[in-house]
Symmetry: C2
Subunit: 377 residues, 2 copies
Amino acid sequence: MSASTSTQTALSIPPLQNDQFLRACLRMPTDFTPVWLMRQAGRYLPEYRATRERAGSFMGLATAPDLACEVTLQPLDRYALDAAILFSDILTVPDAMGLGLSFATGEGPKFASPVRDEAAVKALRVPDMNQLKYVFDAVGTIRRALSDAKGVGRVPLIGFSGSPWTLACYMVEGGGSDDYRLVKTMMYQRPDLMHQILAVNADAVALYLNTQIEAGAQAVMVFDSWGGVLADGAFQNFGLAYTRRVLSQLKKTHNGHRIPHIVFTKGGGLWLQEIADTGCDVVGLDWTMNLDKARAQVGHQVALQGNLDPMVLFASPEQIQAQAKAVLDSFGRPRNADGSHAGHVFNLGHGISQFTPPEHVSALVDTVHAHSRTLRD
Amino acid sequence: MSASTSTQTALSIPPLQNDQFLRACLRMPTDFTPVWLMRQAGRYLPEYRATRERAGSFMGLATAPDLACEVTLQPLDRYALDAAILFSDILTVPDAMGLGLSFATGEGPKFASPVRDEAAVKALRVPDMNQLKYVFDAVGTIRRALSDAKGVGRVPLIGFSGSPWTLACYMVEGGGSDDYRLVKTMMYQRPDLMHQILAVNADAVALYLNTQIEAGAQAVMVFDSWGGVLADGAFQNFGLAYTRRVLSQLKKTHNGHRIPHIVFTKGGGLWLQEIADTGCDVVGLDWTMNLDKARAQVGHQVALQGNLDPMVLFASPEQIQAQAKAVLDSFGRPRNADGSHAGHVFNLGHGISQFTPPEHVSALVDTVHAHSRTLRD
């Protein structure tokens, strides 16, 4: 890392033992392709399950900064990952709005008070960030835990939030859904109400992410997990417009350092150009997108993050290696013909499955590092 | 219809009271945009639920030709639909392979003997079509019921099958899935076994569709409901390659009449060009695809079918009308600048929801007919 660290000039990157993730996000030269995994701190790790057991409940874990820090660091201790991501849930913001988030065993999230009528919509407000203090405390705790004696971090810490539309899906449906009937009914029937929800969500998400940045998050990611269920047209009006409203309010720097903004829309490949045009630094891609084509389309505007099918991790280590190499080769050598650099952050195309054999992740991470070094000059 | 019916020359279309659907599939001039709805015979109709009740079970309904005919015709009696589609299930073929299909109340399909190991894969065979006689009998019964005294049908009858990959998903998972872990694990871990399943499925689907054509189906549709969950690369190798294997074996004509082939891949918008290149006549699109862009890309090769979000039907009739017009306007006037015609069959982007208010469907169908007439010269 020393070589590239010494060449950082134009863009200000914080001092880190491993800054490859931030460099890739900002399309600066890298020594290898950095890798992290969505949901890398999670149920597939026995040490996570042990901490979760001690916490008593998922929200007990998410709301205890020391425990959230503990599980955030667990995958970094096992694997040579190039970024940490705050352990939290994407639904903390609507919970802070008073919707009453809970997780029943073996089921997904549930809201006690879903937003289904005009009165509920009108009552929505950007929550007081004190309600989310546990998140910002966790960010600070993790940053300290990642730092060495001189205050230099091992790897950068990513903060995150659900996108306004994705939060609205859960807020109206009251939990997960397989057809998005309630939220789409409101969208098609009462677009005025949907726009109100999304406006409040956008402002809340922006404030939430900015407060994470102030607490120490060194990059932030907007998870638009359900943008891909929208129709063309509706995606632009109800999804992307509010992601843009978030991005327009986000801090681009903190303490003089650039804070990369990542937008991930599952199923958003058809709208890649429009997502890149939001002004984000990095676009996350799921496995349906061809990385070579994506780079040709928007690689001069944004870095790309992704995009291995998480189910590849159920194959043998040799097969995982072959698939990881194929993803890296599809992106190609980061150096462009004109000497500039394209940015690639290796990731899965969606969260890692809870059933993943933990030892398979090592095969993936190590292959990404080793093979991507061969794609540098 | 009289004007355009009299101009049919180059392509042979069977005599029908309403041949607009077949004409649109074959990119011949039409008087209006024909419309039918995926799952148009289904639970949202009280008359369907009454017949289903009498049948005792879903499979009881699907396997009784008279009852399958009855529910096939129900939506035609309510709405001015331009095509009938055989009432059946996409999983009849693996059921005939001996996997033991059943439908538990309130749940999706289940196979008693899912295909999960090498022995089960090796035992798979193209089933004897006598096992599926109830389907072909239903096709004949429906054709007779659609015919007037002179043997001229009201509208054409569409036959269908699941795609090889979509069938494989159910066969390996044993039912529905939200992560496709088992089928993808086999695909990534034992691609040889997956190719064997898909080869048998493709040959079985081709034979099944050809036998439907011989029994009277006037167009056939391959439902690749789960092609969109595949990674780029895997879609081509495990999805499209076997859809192509089906298409290459399908009858293009029967009794001198052209039989249009429709391929619908939910979530397949990124692969539109490759799907069109299979040689099918019509590509079905879900609501994420922009029809204007799709037509510009492949409208000179294939007709397009789609693509209203089924959830639009939960809005008010006025809102449904506006959204239906927007879909028609997005496709644009069928006549091309060079005088040739592009083909558009209006449909939903996926099956109609069981919770749809039946009266809302009238607003949709009538608007499609009225507005599309204004898009002709």
